[in-house]
Structure formats: C-alpha cells, structure tokens
Symmetry: C2
C-alpha cells in the first residue's frame, strides 16, 4: 500500500487506474495458510479501505488485483472501486500453474460495468491465453478491459494483448508487476493497446512507474473493420459449437 | 499457373506447399460474371489438373486458394491436393468487404485432414480476425493451419498470426499475395509461425518467392503451457455460451 500510495498521486485527474494482480498480497505463496493470511473479504479489509480512500482522495476509479477471502475459499480477484465504494468484482477464471493449490476458479462469469464514460471489464493475468473471454467481453460491450497481471512467461502476453485489442476493437490495459519474489521473476512491460492494435503505452521491464494515456471510447464502439465488415455481425456462431461443448 | 510453375520447383522435397487465396483467378472482380469466368469445379478444371500434375511431379501436397464453382454458386475455397487427387476442401467462412457480391459463405465447417505426418486445417484470409475458428481447428487436432490469403489491411493479420499460433500451440502458414490488382494492393509479408509464437519465416512485402522451413509436429501436439497448464483442459466452456448463441 505504501508503494501504491507513492505512485498513485501521479494519476490524479485520471478516470481509471489499474494496479497489478494480487496487489495486496504478493503472488508466490508457499502454503495455503500463507495465502490466507494476506487475504481479505472484499470491502471489509485494509486493502479495500485503502483503495476506497484513494478513490475519494483523487476522484478516480481503481481496478486492483486482490487476494480475496470468501468464507473458507480464496479467489484471485480483481475489484473495481469508486469513491462510492466497491462497484464490481471479477474472479480469475483460468488459474496458472500451482494457483489451484490456493484458489478456487472464478465463479462470477464475465461481468461488464457501465461507468457512464466507459464500459469496463476485468480479466486477470493468464486469462490472456484464452481468446474466448476477450471476445465475450467485447461482445458484451466492453470498451476497455483492465488486466491486472503478475506475468512470468517472457513476453508472450505482451505480444498477444495488442492482438486481442485489434481483433475485438477494444482498449486493453495490462498492469503487470516488475521484480522478483522467490523463484518467480515478473516481466514488467505493462501495455496499453488501442482498438487498432497499436501499443499506446509500454512501461519498462524493471521499474515501478505510472503511465497515463487518453482513450477514445467511440473508437472502441466502432466495430466496422471495413465499410462492409462488422466484427460481430460477421460471426458464424452456428459453426462455433465446439467452443461451448461441456467437458 | 505459369508463375506458380516457375517458383514451385524450389519446393521439391517439401511435404506441404501453400499458395495464396484465389490463386487461379485473382481477387478484385468487377462483376459476378467476371468472377464466374475464372471459376472451376474442384477436381474438374485446368487449375485442379495443374495442381495435381505438380503434386505428381514433385511428390508434395499442395494447399491452394481456388475460385470454386458449384452449380450456380461460387465459393472462395481452399483445396488440399496430393498426387492421389483432391484430399479436402474448405470454403471461406468469413467473407471480406464485397466478396458476398460474388461468393456464398462457407458451408463445409472446419475440417481437419490427417496426412499421417501432420494434421492439417485450412482457413482463408479474413478468417484471421475470428479467433474462434483458430481455436476450434486446434481443438480438433490441427498441427498446422494453412492460410491462403490476399491481405489488404496493412500489417494487421501478420501481427495476429504468431499470436494465433502461440495461443493454440500450432503452426500457421499464411501465404499472402504481393503486388496490386485494380484499386487493391496486397501486403505480402507471408509468415510462418511456430507453436511458441515465433516467426520462423517471413517473406518480403513485394517479391514473389518460395520459403521453406522444417516443422516439428510434436511441438504442436504438446499443449502444456506450463507443467500444470494444459491449454484446452484449462478451458471453461460452461462460461463461453455467448460465443455459440445463434443470432
């Protein structure tokens, strides 16, 4: 929280600020007990209160990865906070590596939140490799997908994000972590991509920093790839049944 | 056919050779009549015969875009040919720009062909922007997707192809056209990407050329992104229903 506090003032005046995955706990747990110690019930712990206080101080919305406790279960979650309180929550749907040792899989679907100035969805880290969820969120009207991350596979996600943005005509903000924790090194290079697939901000590989860009949501709401090709009207869902077949 | 003939000898010894979209007709038709004139019934016209003769001469398999006539209908198709004859056919599912003026949408699904040394699927040009079909073909066991193209949007597909390859752990060969036809300029930069998302061959923007690479299908059959993450077992199809909802 001290580190976030020292950087977040640079984002005064922004509408939406995105922090990395599990920003209240770190990532590389050695036991379920350790994971549990740093978890909190959303809206009822010190990290939720801290985020709310920052939203009230600066007037922005915050998206932050959070180690969420719900009864006996933990979730790798992302929350959307405004000065009015907790607006929404997403629980990571595709867990990475040994995360199932600590976390339940996400069970809240793929919600979109209408902030008036922008429709916002959240995905977390390894969700990046499943194009299904990016498509679904775009089809549900997301202008912007905020993507708190603790990426460790070198450069793969950072290469995919502009393509997700382009194929779905949306903005994506991937807020990644830098530095190391135990045997895991995080790859930094946080990226903001626009609906044309251009990278409009790229952070460094090793430094903690805040980057600010302007987004034009009208660009994300224009789904015409050519004057005759609407990205979603062109879809052939009757041909995609295999994607939805239960295991 | 003369142009293809002059280059294709360089591919002697290859297992699979991929040609661009609509390789027997050109792309930029001004009327349905013009499109019809250069079309042929698969397996029964001069282009099919030419491809078969080349397969017999060199012993390879050919994938080629073809302006296909079937009764009163035209299809923007891709065929797979061996020295034994026509093995398979794919009809473009997502038509681009004014193509619906000439072509019916593909109605043969997303077939995969097992050649013994490799399981092969075909997609055509603008299919690139629909991640659904790449995922489906990979789930159906494609090691390699051959992607005849006449790309005109600058650089977008070429950026997406390595990401499709990486997200699905498959090989992709995009054989694109160079040069211009009427008001359309084709973007070249044919690309071969491997299951790690690396570009293992990239052709030039403006020259007709043949490129040959070795593919290791065992790499495409290993769907473990980490020791604990199987790309397809990790999927959450119960959460993807929107992708398959009929219009």
């Amino acid at each position: 929280m001290e580190k976030i506090d020292s950087l977040i003032g640079q984002c005064a005046g922004a509408d939406v600020v995105v922090l990395p995955e599990l920003a209240n706990s770190g990532y590389n747990f050695t036991s379920k007990e350790q994971a549990r110690e740093s978890s909190e019930e959303v809206g009822k712990g010190p990290f939720s209160e801290f985020l709310l206080s920052k939203c009230r101080q600066y007037g922005f919305h915050l998206v932050a990865g959070i180690n969420e406790r719900d009864g006996d279960s933990l979730y790798n979650s992302s929350i959307l906070v405004s000065s009015d309180g907790i607006i929404g929550k997403y629980r990571k749907m595709h867990l990475f590596w040994n995360e199932p040792d600590f976390y339940q899989s996400g069970n809240l679907g793929l919600p979109i939140f209408d902030l008036g100035f922008c429709k916002l969805g959240m995905l977390i880290c390894f969700d990046w490799i499943h194009p299904e969820v990016w498509r679904i969120m775009a089809m549900k009207g997301a202008d912007l997908i905020c993507h708190p991350s603790n990426l460790v596979l070198p450069g793969l996600c950072q290469k995919a994000i502009p393509v997700h943005a382009m194929m779905n005509r949306i903005y994506v903000i991937t807020a990644n972590r830098v530095g190391a924790e135990g045997d895991k090194t995080f790859t930094g290079m946080s990226v903001i991509a626009d609906p044309k697939g251009d990278v409009i901000h790229q952070a460094s590989q090793s430094e903690e920093e805040a980057g600010i860009v302007d987004l034009d949501v009208t660009l994300a709401r224009d789904k015409m790839m050519t004057p005759l090709n609407h990205l979603f009207d062109d879809r052939r869902p009757e041909e995609y049944a295999l994607l939805c077949e239960k295991k």
